[in-house]
Each structure stands twice: as C-alpha cells, then as structure tokens.
C-alpha cells in the first residue's frame, strides 16, 4: 500500500463522500460527528457531537455499559469477587484475558481475575425474579472463596424484571459482614461503555473510597487514576515513579486491590491518565477530601518526562525535582537511541487511531516521536470535553441518555477533608504554568486539516482506508482483520495484541519496536501472487 498514498486529501470532500452514502436522517446525525480539524490562534476548535446514540444498523466499535463497568473498571481489580447477575453470556465474554495484568504480592494473596462468576439466569428466573438466586449465589461465593468484598453487576434483563441488586447487596452485607455492593450497569443504559465507567467509578467512590484511613509512610503520595495496566503499562509506570521516589497509594483500576481503593483518599495528589473514564472521580475526591488533581500522560517518552516534572513541581521540593531530572537523564539515552534508529524507517508514514476515550489522543505522542503523522483519529466513547477540552464542559447539553447515569452530589467530609495546598499555593503553581484540573483535549493538538471522527462506523473506516491509505491503523479486535485484509497492518490499542507495556520509558521502546515491525515486516509485499501482476503472454511451457 505504501507509495500510493495521497497526501493532499481534503477532509471536507471525504466527509461529503461518506455522508452521501447514508439515509438522510443518518447523514444529518453523522455530519455533526465527523469534523475536519481546525485550530485557531486562541486554541479554539470546531464543535463536535459526541456521547450520542449509535444509529441502529450502523456497525459501531462500541460496547455497552456492562462492558465498561464490569470489564474495564472492576475487571482489573483482583481481590473482589465480581458476580455478573444475568444469563451466562455477559459474564462469559467479560471473563478476562490477561489484557489487564495483575500481580499479587504473594501466592497467598487473593486473585480472582482469572475466574468468571455468574448467576447464569434461566428462564424461570426471568419469569419469577432472580433475587433469590442472587442471594444464594452471594452466599455460595462467600462459602467457597471468603473474599474481602463482593460486587454485583446487573445485565439487561435484570433491570427489566426489576431485581433490586442494591437491596440484595445491603442484606447480604449485613448478613456476611463483608463489603457487598451492586451496580446498575444494564447494557442498555447510556450510549456506550462510558456510561458503565461512570456507574462503576461512582460505585467505588460511594462504597469503598474512604473506608481505610491508614496513611502510607511515604514522602510523595499520589493516586494514578484512569490507568488500567493493559499489557503491564501500570507496572512500568510504577517502576518509574518508584525510582523517582514517588509512591502510588492506589491505581484506578489497574493491578488494583480493594484495600488500595479504600485507602486512596489519603494520597496528596491525584494524577489522571484517561480523562474520560475518571475525571469526575478526581473532582469528587477534591471536593470531599481536598486532593487536587492534574492531568498527566505516561504514553510517550516525552510525555512521561513532562508528567514526572508536573508531579515534582506540585510537591515543590527541590530534592524530588532533582531526582526526577536524574531519572529522566538516566532513562532517556536508551530510548533516544532506539527512537532515532526506528525513526529512520518510520519517518513520514501515516497512522489512524480510533480507540477508547483517551487512547486515540495519547498515542499520537508516540507516533510523533518516530516522525509519523496521524491523519485521522477519533474516540469510540468519548465526550465533547475529551475532544475540545474541559472548557466546553459547561456548554455540554445533558440529554436523556446521560440523565440516566447517576451524578453524585459530594460534600466536604467533616472528618477527612484536608486541603493539601493553600489557595495561595495553588494559585502560585497555576501562575507558574502548572495548571490543575485542566485538559485541552485531542483536537487542539491535532494538525489542521486532519479528520476527527466520533464513534466511527465500519463503512466510514472502509472509506477512510481507501482514500488515505494509511501505513498503519489502530483500533480494536473487531476491526483488526477487516483492515488487515486490505494489506494494512492493524495495531490493537485496547488489548495491545500480544505486546506491551507501551507506557512510560521502557514502554516507549516497546512501542517503537512494535510499530517498526508492523510497518516494515515484509509480509505485506507478498499480498499479490507473481502471476497476478504479470499477465500471461502466450500459452507455452517455458521448458519447451
């Protein structure tokens, strides 16, 4: 495919071409979600429609609320027994692969991540109600596994038949004396898995955060929010942070434990990786406990260095700043060497990214580092602020689908609220260029004339591939093989295929190597058989 690429693509033309195919109503809706990027001098970007319903019949990348709640947020938490209340399918499909890695301290520590627990509802449970079976299942889970906590996830039919999972949770919590809590994360709630993230995070915040006041003995204590330890990302971030002398109280939710959530309100700073999945938790923790938050990004070597400096600046301690600089100086040379070597082979090539609620943004840094351009990108389940920046939050219209997702009202905790910085200190830091609660979003950082597509469909993917002929495409497993049939390598960024980690310093090296392999593997040169390119001239045996 390389060599045939068209560099001068007019995104408005492509948009028109795509919309022409759709029925009028679909075209009108999609017109607001497909946006040629333009950034003005003040950093303003065009308004894009996001977090709106997927059109029935249009093949989407999206999953559901249950998937976001059980799979993404609670999935990588190893010591909670997660019971799916519903027919077997949902539980079965969210039975995790090792996508989210976890590592208990010893062989004796709880680890339920490789287990799948379900009430496996049958038709009689649908007819007569499933609460009785759920109670019994919780009892059996307790008898068999003696976990610290049990959580319950509602699937579509549970919501319809009206099983009260929260009442069951309260009753069983009382009876068994361990923390038991439920999530109303039926698949039809909201418009994407983002709704499920919200339900899950609210649940953890309500039922677990603040349960354990023990304060970790450490100098610089942070929480890492919105990091899922995909392919071991969290392990590498932890390594780098620890080397700098920064301690992680809790990670939401990669390689996490119940105890870390319970204790997370004792940290001094919240750092937010995936803005989409968790920015509201950071807000709530600030409101209730007084922990300020900053946006960081550990994808990309430069981003990692920048994020470490941001954390160090927050603590205003020269010793920490020096250590961070020393770590960057120590880690960078190896990365630089690899980066330069790989850049030689990747420079000038193009990529497309259609993943997640932040991933399509973060990974652009890594591609930039090896000289590649992202010509088109979009999120699977982001909201407008993830594209345009937090400043648009007050303008976002709340529609019926969002109204279904509970917004928690949070107040200062009378006992546990403790401001980490004075208002003056915060203002000084802001003035010195260290903003809090800020995220500019994806579009301001993308080039003018690139194409931003929210909730991309299969048909749109095909059209973009044909026109842009990118050198690499990043998406999820459902898209992978259709793209590769075109002879274009496809990198999964939800599960990393079999690769990773890609975060922080060593992760950057892994990513450079992976992209190098994918772009420069010779398999794509052989797609055409020899007899396909040279037409037969005469019917004669060559050995005649």
């Amino acid at each position: 495919m390389t060599g045939e690429r068209t560099h001068s693509v007019d995104p408005e033309e492509i948009k028109k071409e795509i919309l022409a195919k759709y029925p009028a109503k679909v075209a009108r809706k999609r017109a607001k979600q497909i946006m040629p990027n333009a950034v003005d001098e003040t950093g303003n970007v065009p308004e894009i429609s996001a977090n709106v319903r997927t059109v029935p019949g249009i093949i989407t990348q999206r999953g559901c609320s249950y998937a976001g709640c059980k799979g993404v947020i609670l999935g990588p938490t190893r010591d909670i027994v997660n019971i799916t209340h519903g027919p077997i399918g949902c539980g079965f499909y969210s039975w995790l692969t090792r996508r989210n890695q976890t590592k208990p301290a010893t062989d004796q520590d709880d680890n339920f991540m490789t287990y799948c627990f379900s009430t496996d509802m049958q038709d009689e449970d649908i007819v007569f109600g499933g609460e009785k079976k759920l109670k019994a299942a919780i009892q059996e889970a307790y008898d068999n596994f003696k976990p610290k906590a049990i959580s319950i996830f509602s699937t579509c039919p549970v919501g319809l038949i009206g099983d009260d999972v929260h009442a069951v949770a309260r009753e069983m919590k009382e009876k068994l004396g361990i923390n038991i809590f439920g999530f109303s994360c039926e698949g039809y709630r909201g418009v994407s898995q983002s709704a499920g993230h919200h339900i899950a995070n609210n649940g953890i915040f309500t039922h677990v955060v603040g349960e354990d006041d023990h304060v970790m003995e450490a100098e610089y204590k942070i929480n890492l929010l919105g990091e899922y330890n995909i392919g071991g990302d969290g392990f590498e971030i932890d390594r780098v942070l620890n080397k700098c002398g920064i301690s992680v109280v809790s990670t939401f939710s990669g390689n996490s434990t119940y105890g870390q959530f319970a204790n997370s309100h004792t940290a001094d700073l919240n750092t937010v990786m995936c803005h989409r999945s968790i920015n509201y938790v950071a807000d709530m923790m600030e409101e209730k406990y007084g922990i300020p938050w900053i946006k960081i990004n550990f994808i990309g070597a430069k981003s990692t260095a920048k994020s470490l400096r941001k954390i160090a600046a927050y603590f205003e301690d020269q010793a920490l700043m020096d250590r961070v600089e020393a770590v960057i100086a120590e880690e960078m040379p190896d990365i630089e060497a690899k980066r330069k070597e790989v850049k030689k082979r990747c420079e000038g090539k193009t990529a497309m990214l259609f993943v997640g609620g932040s991933r399509a943004h973060h990974y652009q840094e890594l591609f930039k580092e090896i000289g590649m351009t992202v010509v088109s990108a979009g999120y699977e389940f982001a909201h407008r602020d993830d594209y345009e920046g937090r400043r648009v939050i007050p303008d976002i219209k709340i529609d019926a689908d969002s109204r279904n997702i509970e917004e928690l009202t949070v107040e200062k905790d009378p006992d546990k609220f403790a401001p980490r910085k004075t208002a003056d200190q915060m203002a000084d830091l802001e003035a010195a260029g260290h903003p809090f609660k800020e995220y500019d979003g994806m579009m301001p950082e993308m080039e003018k004339g690139t194409l931003v597509v929210d909730d991309i469909s299969q048909f749109e993917t095909e059209t973009l591939l044909e026109i842009y002929k990118p050198d690499i495409f990043c998406a999820g497993i459902k898209e992978k093989y259709a793209i590769q049939k075109h002879g274009i390598p496809m990198k999964q960024l939800h599960s990393y295929d079999s690769g990773g980690p890609y975060a922080a310093f060593k992760g950057a090296v892994n990513f450079y190597e992976e992209i190098d392999r994918m772009l420069n593997a010779n398999i794509w040169e052989y797609v055409e058989a020899p007899w396909q390119s040279s037409p037969q001239l005469s019917a004669k045996y060559v050995w005649e």
Partner: protein, 458 residues
C-alpha cells in the same frame, strides 16, 4: 497459581456458576448466519451483545466478523424495539447492501417481548426491504440453552424461512453440519461429495471464516450457502443433521413441513461416529463407499494401533459442548483411554445419559455433569488427577496450575491457530485429533524423562 482459590474440598453450589463451560444463544445464531452467502447478521438488543459476540468470534477465527445491532437505549427497552429494528433494516440495506439480514434476539428484546416476525413484516410493508432482498429471524433468548441452542435456532430459521417445495426433486442431500469449525464444514462437504452425493450444506462458514489475504476486503466473501440453495432444501432427497443439539431442529422441521426424510447423527468425530455417518449416507443415497474412504479409515486405525501404548488406560478430563463431547468420549474409549471427568455447560438430561452409556465399561470411575462448570471439573481433577485435559482455551489455567497435558478443543480457542484450517471430523480429522493428543502426552514424557530414559523412538 492462577486458580489459587480452587480447592479440593467441594462445597455444593446451586446458584453460582464459576468458570462456565458454555456461553449464550445469540453468538451461535450469529455464527450460523455468517454461513449464508451475502448475509449480515443482526443482533436485536443493546449494542454490547453484538460487540461481545463479534469480539469473541473474531478472536476465535482471526477473521473479520461483521454484524449490526439495534442499539437499544433505555427508551427502546421500555417502549419496545420496533422503531430501532425497522430503522436498522433500512440503514443496513442502504449502507452495507447485503442480500439478506439474519436477525437474532437477545435477552433484552426477548424479555420485553418484541415480536420480531411482526416487526419484519412491518418493515416489508413500509418498503424498507428492497426487492429481491430478505430478512430472516430467530428467537434466541440467552437464558435458555447455550450457544449451541442459538446455532440450532438460526439453522432452523434458515431452512424454514426460505424452503419452498417446487414438486421436482433436486437430487440433493441437506446437511446441517452442527456448530463446528469452517474446516470441519469443508471436510464434511468433501466426504459427502466423495460418496457421489450432492450436498446442500447449511450453514457453511468455510471460505468465510478462514479466508485468504488478498489485499482487498469484502464484507461478503465467496462462500456460504446461497439463498437459492436454501429455497431448494424442501426439494432434497433427504437431510442429515450432525449433532442432535445443533442440527436436529432444522432437519426435523424440513421433515415435518416438507416431508424431506431426515436422520440425526452424532458429529462425525472419531472412528465410530464417522463410520455411522458414512454408512448413513451410503444407505440413504444407495451408493457404495469408494475405496479412498475405506483407505482413510484404515489409516486412522493404523495410527491407533501403532500408538496404542501411549493411550491405553490414560485418564482424561473433558469440557465442551454436548454435540462434540459425546463422539469425542466415544473416540477416547475407542483409543482405550478413560474419559473420567466430563462437564458441559449446556443444559439437558440426554447428555449425561449418553455419556454413561458410552463409558459403561468404566462404571463409577466416570463423573459427568450437564449443566456443570469448569470450576467443578477442576475440583474433580484435584481429587482424582488425570493424564490429559481436553477443553477450550479456558482449560489453559487448569492445565497450568495442575500441570496437565492439554489439548485445545471446542469453542472458543483464542490462543492457538489451526482449528479453522485443519478439521477434526472424519477419519482424517481423527488422525489430527490423535496427533494432538499424542503430542501432548509425548511432550510431557520427554519433559519428565530422566536422562537415561530420554528416547528418540517413542
């Protein structure tokens, strides 16, 4: 220890399933629908189901799996999914231009009681189904049966919603191959053809879910049963359904509605089940079995007799689908092995009864549970160890923790390749299965052998 919480001590469980040995109906229906040429499967429910099913099928086949969804949100769940489905049908035909859409329901649309037949009729009346295009549908509530049931329901819909008797025999045989790999479907078709019989096989996922890399992607690969063939199933001489759970409904429906005589056989896995399949085809079509097939049979026997010393008396644990496990258990018995712990997640009393009949010679040594789960299987193994585990990908954890030689078999297989290309049905498939079993056992022997016993000739 990845399954560190699986204990030897067995406590009764009635309500909690742990590590299921089945999944839900719609995925089976989606898989079956992919076996019709030019078909786009459609999942009538919230979009998560469709996403999960596509992801799982994609991971197992490593091929594109396209399907659309009605994308229910809360409103549709309360007021019914008619508007969503009619809109979806319109959007699909406009945007993706399939020959037909095969709709299956989910627990959501089933629970609210959507009448898909009525909705499809409405779509037709409203002009949303273009001339010459079709929409078929199957009811597949996830809280009944398993993925195998979903396959069966879609296979039945396929025939019934197209079949039309013309009065003239087409001289063909209908074959419903069961929930098996594309490679198996190709092999079944080949066996039938070798006997000189023309098959109409439905569904047929060969060439669809094991397609080539060509530099071009096509949503509807060349393959699958055609609509014309499906219409013609009522004119066939007879039908054979392979695997009672997955295929009986379809062939029996053709029998009762169109008087196409049917037989339901076990999947042709292993020596004896393949014998029965070939013999049934031969008798039904009045043909004689060509030497090539008898030679293949002999080869399988030859391998068994050559390698019997590795097989005899070895204890095996199995998890999977009833249609597969029944002939597989029989095959293991043929090999002189002892299939002692067997679970399926798919409900149904017939399973345990058949297994007990097949393994009667082993008496009380055999534990069987249907529906059961893989947690139970693992606990049995901890109490009474085995020499070999045969299960889908999820058996991997058990095999690692308890250090058991392991053969991947069934659905899904996410961590190996081969299943989509190399069949396990028929005599040749038997040799492949046997090869996998022997390799697992001999790799273990080699690994554990003291140096003085380490041998080249095995």
């Amino acid at each position: 220890m990845l399954l560190r919480h699986t204990t030897k001590e067995i406590k009764e469980r009635k309500s909690l399933t742990v590590n299921p040995a089945k999944t839900c109906q719609p995925i089976g229906a989606m898989y079956a629908a992919l076996g019709i040429h030019g078909c786009l499967p459609h999942s009538h429910g919230s979009q998560g189901c469709c996403a999960y099913h596509r992801s799982t099928l994609t991971r197992h086949y490593r091929e594109p799996v396209m399907a659309a969804t009605s994308s229910f949100t809360e409103g549709a769940s309360v007021f019914g999914g008619q508007a969503n489905l009619v809109q979806a049908i319109d959007n699909i035909f406009t945007t993706y231009d399939p020959d037909l859409i095969a709709v299956h329901t989910t627990c959501l649309s089933e629970t609210i009681g959507d009448d898909v037949n009525q909705i499809v009729n409405k779509a037709k009346k409203d002009g949303k189904i273009p001339e010459g295009k079709y929409v078929i549908h199957a009811s597949t509530p996830s809280y009944v049966g398993s993925h195998v049931t979903g396959f069966a329901n879609m296979a039945k819909s396929m025939a019934l919603q197209f079949a039309k008797k013309s009065g003239t025999s087409n001289g063909k045989f209908n074959i419903v191959p069961g929930f098996v790999e594309p490679s198996d479907m190709a092999a079944i078709k080949e066996m039938v053809k070798t006997l000189g019989i023309s098959p109409i096989m439905f569904p047929d996922t060969s060439n669809i879910l094991n397609g080539p890399l060509t530099g071009k992607y096509t949503m509807y690969p060349k393959g699958g049963v055609s609509i014309e063939e499906l219409k013609s199933t009522a004119d066939s001489i007879g039908s054979i359904g392979l695997g009672p759970l997955a295929s009986a409904d379809a062939v029996r429906a053709l029998d009762s509605q169109f008087k196409v005589p049917c037989q339901v056989l076990d999947l042709p896995i292993g020596l004896l089940a393949t014998d029965r399949f070939i013999d049934a085809l031969r008798s039904a079509a009045g043909v004689s079995v060509p030497d090539s097939i008898t030679r293949e049979r002999g080869r399988l026997l030859d391998v068994i007799s050559d390698m019997h010393h590795h097989l005899y008396g070895k204890r095996v644990a199995l998890a999977g689908d009833p249609d597969q496990l029944i002939p597989l258990t029989e095959f293991l018995m043929t090999l002189g092995m002892k299939p002692v712990h067997i679970v399926t997640g798919t409900p149904g009393k017939a399973f345990a009864k058949r297994i007990k009949e097949i393994t009667a010679r082993l008496g009380d040594e055999v534990k069987v549970k249907g529906p059961g789960d893989m947690y139970t299987l693992h606990q049995w193994i901890k109490n009474e160890p085995v020499d070999l585990l045969i299960a889908n990908t999820y058996g991997k954890y058990i095999a690692r923790d308890d250090d058991i030689p392991y053969v991947r078999f069934g659905f899904p297989i996410l961590d190996r390749i081969g299943h989509t290309y190399f069949p396990t049905v028929g005599y040749r498939g038997g040799i492949r299965l046997l090869e996998q079993i022997l390799n697992a056992l001999m790799d273990r022997m080699d690994r554990d052998a003291p140096e003085e016993k380490f041998e080249l000739v095995m």
